[in-house]
């Protein structure tokens, strides 16, 4: 299978702190890969470099063979990378539909006009917010804001979706809804890089995982193998449990 997202020798230094040391991995076309690791291990930093929020200190990121590292975030978005944020970031002065419309109008295919309105409604229906496009974002519940953010990310019709702890903070029943949504994306052939702490979700969604600790990859492979890896257990729970 062709390598969709390819990350090679990625490095990020903040002053004296090296947050990401030498990270290389890939995501194949239509694959959902988990990016795990304890807090502060550099997962979100890697995600931020892929989406262009941060510039890498060294290393390369390519999407379908096109180098996207060192591009501005809006250029990367138009190359087909969409993301959600660790803490939901709705655009509060816009309605629910307008939030989605932003990605439609400026994403890969630049939809505008009545056609874009229909597409926004379609994306909202997909995440379970059908018919609620006219509402004020502030009136949405937490999970509905997360749904809206997913619809906004999907509206740019991305080639790669980055989910940054998208399932965090949900109740068990909401979590199941969230997992089902991501699974439907998987079924539709979307490539996803999933930063997640909830192991049930990772097991349910990812065939393959990359685990980071202190800025380095400490394990990489099929999910079940990786989660049993003594190094991974030690990183999460401390050395005594290994």
């Amino acid at each position: 299978m062709s390598s969709h997202l390819q990350i090679t020798h990625l490095r990020k230094r903040f002053g004296g702190l090296v947050a990401v040391k030498d990270v290389s991995f890939d995501v194949a076309d239509g694959e959902v890969v988990g990016l795990l690791g304890p807090n502060g291990s550099g997962k979100t930093t890697v995600l931020n470099m892929i989406s262009g929020a941060l510039l890498p200190t060294a290393g390369e990121i390519t999407l379908r063979g096109v180098r996207i590292s060192r591009l501005r975030p809006d250029r990367i978005a138009r190359h087909g990378v969409a993301r959600t944020f660790q803490l939901v970031r709705p655009l509060p002065s816009l309605t629910v539909a307008e939030n989605v419309l932003v990605s439609l109008a400026f994403g890969r295919f630049k939809h505008w006009g009545p056609d874009a309105r229909d597409l926004a409604e379609e994306k909202l229906a997909f995440v379970g917010l059908g018919g609620r496009g006219g509402e004020n974002v502030a009136n949405l519940t937490y999970i509905d804001q997360k749904r809206m953010e997913l619809a906004r990310a999907l509206a740019s019709e991305p080639a790669l979706l980055l989910l940054d702890e998208w399932l965090a903070g949900l109740t068990p029943s909401e979590l199941q809804i969230g997992i089902d949504l991501v699974r439907r994306l998987q079924g539709a052939g979307m490539s996803v890089l999933l930063v997640e702490h909830i192991m049930d979700a990772v097991r349910a969604l990812c065939a393959r995982c990359v685990v980071m600790n202190a800025g380095e990859i400490i394990a990489h492979g099929p999910t079940e193998t990786v989660l049993k890896d003594p190094g991974v257990v030690a990183a999460y729970l401390g050395d005594g449990h290994a």
Binding site: G52, A53, R72, D74, F85, L91, S93, L94, V102, G169
Partner: protein, 316 residues
């Protein structure tokens, strides 16, 4: 349908305003000139600052550039070319300033724009004193108040039309997204710097034109008159009072406040600045979203919050 009606009403209002000065004396026309000038200033200011929430105090920098361009060039070039030159200079300064400062956020941008206006005033003063050897300049153009008024009225119509068009365009949506969250906007594919720069330049060019068109009215200009920072503050307060994110907001704020300040400066010239300051504080405290938003808020049934919100707030 309702758009058509609104357009017809606006066109009728415009026609009414165009013939109004024929029935007024010189003082009345003077009021109309000042009022229309501020309607354009406030609307142009809100065009950029409303959606993006970048509070600019550079209004008078561009206003003064426009007025000074007319003062310098009115005897050597035909009037339409003078206006064109003013536009070009205002646009160039706006692009240079925009490219170097639109990365600044919040209070830094406010202070920078305030400083910019002061800097340009000092530069012009220095140039006039040291190079041309004279501080003030006379403008002799064969315009009466009514001619200036008609020009400003046309500019007001164009400005409102542009604002309306932008608010319905992709650019308008982009600006509102940028005003909410620049990071999210960029990740949705918006070229944030370009969107801000385009609107800043457009707004600044219109403001420059207001200065240029009004200049002949003073006959005598000097930096202290045309670079008076009160113009920046008045514009800001007017736009905020009406509501900077609405098409008619700035105009609705500009008309009553202009008349009020006109009355105050005639009757209480010594306390004018104090009253202006108090007004500023009151508007920011009591009407942060403007009068129009307040009226809409009153008309909407109060206390309607979906019940889920309360449940969620603890868990989130």
């Amino acid at each position: 349908m309702s758009t058509t009606v609104a357009f017809i009403l606006a066109a009728a209002a415009l026609a009414g305003l165009a013939v109004a000065p024929l029935f007024l004396n010189a003082y009345g026309i003077g009021l109309l000139v000042g009022m229309t000038g501020y309607v354009v200033l406030a609307s142009a200011w809100a065009m950029f600052s409303g959606p993006t929430r970048y509070v600019s105090l550079a209004t008078v920098a561009f206003f003064g550039i426009g007025a000074y361009t007319v003062a310098v060039l009115s005897e050597t070039l035909p009037y339409p070319l003078v206006l064109l030159c003013a536009c070009a200079i205002g646009l160039t300064v706006a692009l240079i300033v925009g490219l170097s400062t639109l990365r600044l956020a919040g209070i830094y941008f406010v202070i920078f724009t305030f400083g910019l206006a002061e800097l340009i005033r000092q530069l012009v003063t220095w140039y006039e004193v040291n190079v041309t050897g004279t501080l003030g300049r006379y403008i002799f153009l064969p315009f009466e108040g009514i001619h200036i008024y008609w020009q400003l009225l046309a500019l007001a119509a164009v400005t409102l039309l542009l604002s309306w068009w932008i608010s319905r365009s992709r650019l308008g949506l982009a600006l509102r997204a940028v005003g909410d969250d620049e990071v999210v906007a960029a990740h949705a594919g918006i070229n944030v710097s370009r969107a801000k720069l385009m609107l800043f330049a457009l707004s600044a060019t219109i403001i420059t034109l207001v200065g240029a068109i009004q200049a002949p009215r003073w006959v005598y200009v000097e930096p202290a008159i045309v670079f008076n920072p009160t113009i920046s503050f008045l514009t800001l307060i007017m736009a905020l009072l009406g509501g900077a994110t609405r098409l008619w907001g700035p105009a609705l704020g500009a008309v009553p406040l202009f008349l009020l300040f006109e009355w105050l400066s005639a009757n209480f010239p010594n306390y004018f600045s104090i009253i202006l300051g108090i007004f500023f504080i009151c508007i920011v405290f009591f009407l942060p979203q403007g009068v129009l938003a307040k009226i809409e808020g009153l008309r909407r049934p109060a206390g309607k919050v979906p019940p889920e919100d309360k449940e969620r707030s603890g868990a989130a």
